[in-house]
Structures are given as C-alpha cells and as structure tokens.
Symmetry: C2
Subunit: 234 residues, 2 copies
C-alpha cells in the first residue's frame, strides 16, 4: 500500500497538497476507492481511502487510526560530524531511519571538513525513508551545532563518545548501558575527534566508546552505533 | 599511512604496477623514504618503504610483515539479491567490508529485478574498502548464481534465510547461532523471497530469520545481518 506523509493531519478527512496529489494521480495512478497509508510522524498510522480527485487535489477519508505505532521504549540521539561527501551523511540518515533513530544532530568538530549542511535537503531524505520503511515516528533533525556549544547541556541516561584513540580504555555500548533508556552517541569526523574534544566530553560525563576493532568511516560508525542500540533494545 | 593492495606479493621487494605507481607519485606525492602499508588480501599486512621511483614504477622494500592480521575466528557468507539500483549493492559491499565479511554471492531470485551484475566493478568497490579500512583479508565475491542452483550444495554451521512472512515463526541470528562458527545468510530482493523459495531453503536446512520489526531495504537487511554476526563474535 502506498504511503503519504501527512504531518498536519487533524481530521478524518485529509486533502493532499498539489504536489502529492499529482504524484498520487499521475505517477502512482491511484483512483477513487484505492486504499493508502498515512503517517503523521508523531506515531500515528492511518489507513485511508481515496474519496475524491479534482484536478489539483486528492481527498482522503481515514478508515482506521493506529496511535503510537511501533512505539519504542528507548530513545536514541546520534550527534555526528557531517561527512565531506554529503551523500555519505544522507546515506546514514536513510539507513538509521529504517533501523530506528529519534534525533540526529550534525556536529561541527575541530577536524570537520564540512561545516555547513542543508537541513532541508537532509530532512527530505529522512521523510523519504520514513515513508519507505513505514515509520510512524519521524526522526528529528536538529540544526548543525559546534562541538563546543553542544557538549555542555545534554541530558540522556547514557552519554557516549566513540573515538579511535587506542591508548584510552573504551567499552562497547552494550557494556556501558542497559535497555529501555535514552542514549546519546557522538561520532567524530574522518580523522577523529581531537584530544581536546575527547577531554571536554569526558568532563561532561560522556563515556568513551568503541564500536569494534575495524577502522570505520564516519557514517559506518554512526550506523554501527544505531544498530547496537537497537539490538540492545529489541 | 597510505595503503596499497598487493595480492601478488611474494618477496621482500615489490614493484607497484604502472597505474598504482603513477597514483603513488603524482596523486599521493610520496617519495623515496616514505613508509606505506601493503595488504595481500590473504591476511598479510606489510610495512614497506619506498626505495626506488622510476618514470613508470615505484619499488618498495618490506620492513615488517604481520601474518593473519586481525584474523577472525568466525566466517560469514552473505548471499544477497542484487538491488535494482546497483549503487545500493555497492554500498552494502563497502560497508560489509568495513565491518567484516568473508564471502558474498549475488543471488538471482524469482523476484529479482536485476539479474546481471558486473563482478569486476563490484570487486573494485570491495578492494577500495579493504584499503580504506585496512582489512588484511579481501572478501571473496562469488559469481552471481540463481537461487535454485545455489541452495542445494551449501555447507555452513548455520544456514539462515531472512524473510518477511509474518505468519511464519522466525528468530534472530543470536537466538539461532553461537559464536566462533561459519554463517551463511540469505537476503532476498525487494518484494521478498517467494513462498516457494522459502520452502526450498527450509527443506535444505536453512533456518528462518528475522532482523527486527522494521521494514528494511535489501541492502539494509544484508548489513543488519553482517552487523549482527560480527556483534555475536566480538
């Protein structure tokens, strides 16, 4: 069944905007009587029927509503240095949405080659993955922020920083944390966090983390953390 | 340190081919006396020094050899339906190489939209990831094969098929298998394996598998399996 993202849904009738309506009629070739899924991004999953088609707008009637669809009992926030090649960050956003993530913050670090991201474009990648994988909760993409201004005010049950400095003791997520909690994981740029950043994180109660003994790219490391938290919580 | 893939290394001196030599001198701008890593793809990791540069060839002298570098005590083979968009399969190959995989077989299934892959090109993606993530073992990419001809003759400690049919009982990899073994996981195309394929797999002692309760794309499912087997074995 085709899926539409309808964050502003509030009644049992919903009118798709012009772009979505065109997509619905011209590309998907759906007609009156066809059933579709709607997702509001806040846990609501709806089954709806097409009840009207005008030139510009498709009207839907909600037949069935499921609240808190596949609600998780944990919450995962990953703050990750944007990759130089933005495709790699987009790829991470798509995969993390499929697997399960609640919040992403692009983290501008000392060694970040990329210091600017287009949140609009990244959000579109997330929305597309939300629809494709039928996630009723839309992950929240925060604005990009510098490491220094991010690190202080964070509250989560488990705050962790993944880094590659072999001489420091580091543990796996599953050794540090238990299920059903909130997790915040920091993932650094290619070239890793600087010793100063790691120090600052430790001072702010972040626990040092390893994701295994292979060299991972930034986006792979971020996804490995996402896998591991979801694995811990299933 | 820069890394070169030298599968044909056999002596303490090694001459890079013309393409690699040009890359070494012109792009990386390495000069006599610089140190590099060599990987033979069969577990050998070498530290070598540039001892000669001619117009066409760079000569290296091996200073230090490590055999069975990061040898794993388990073995993972994933047979996966090639994605319609080949980028998605390439992406999986890169990420699986980073995380840890031994063998990949492109599996042509009843519902496969793509039935032909260019193994040469896919192998280049793997080699590039091998160098980037410093993997001394080069994963083996087998030739594409049809589901029916693949399914019979496979031996592995754990043979598993991931599918999405909700009415069949399925378990997680970690519930089915224990560490330190050989694992073979089958991942189907978008649209899943057919009931007939699943039946055939079960008849051949494959255990039905789930990778979690979210809808995963083919390449995400394959990577989730790769992650889980490595998680189980660390």
């Amino acid at each position: 069944m085709h899926v539409f993202y309808t964050p502003d849904i509030s009644h049992s009738e919903y009118i798709l905007n012009e772009e979505e309506s065109r997509h619905c009629m011209k590309v998907l070739r759906l007609v009156i009587g066809d059933l579709v899924h709607l997702i509001d991004g806040r846990g609501g999953l709806y089954e709806a029927e097409i009840v009207g088609e005008s030139k510009k707008n498709v009207t839907l009637r909600v037949l069935k509503t499921t609240a808190e669809y596949q609600k998780r009992n944990h919450s995962l926030h990953i703050a990750v240095a944007p990759t130089k090649n933005i495709d790699r960050l987009e790829w991470f956003l798509e995969k993390a949405t499929e697997i399960g993530i609640d919040q992403i913050t692009p983290l501008i670090c000392d060694r970040s080659e990329r210091r600017i991201v287009k949140e609009d474009r990244l959000n579109k990648v997330i929305t597309s993955a939300v629809k494709q994988s039928l996630q009723a909760y839309h992950p929240v993409l925060n604005e990009a922020v510098s490491f220094a201004s991010f690190i202080g005010g964070q509250s989560a049950d488990y705050k962790m920083i993944a880094h590659c400095m072999d001489d420091e003791p580091r543990r796996f997520i599953s050794q540090i944390s238990s299920p059903g909690k909130s997790y915040l994981v920091l993932i650094g740029p290619e070239g890793d966090f600087t010793p100063g950043e790691i120090q600052l994180a430790l001072q702010n109660d972040f626990k040092p983390l390893t994701l295994g003994n292979t060299r991972l790219r930034t986006e792979t490391a971020a996804l490995a953390a996402c896998f591991e938290v979801n694995y811990l919580n299933r």
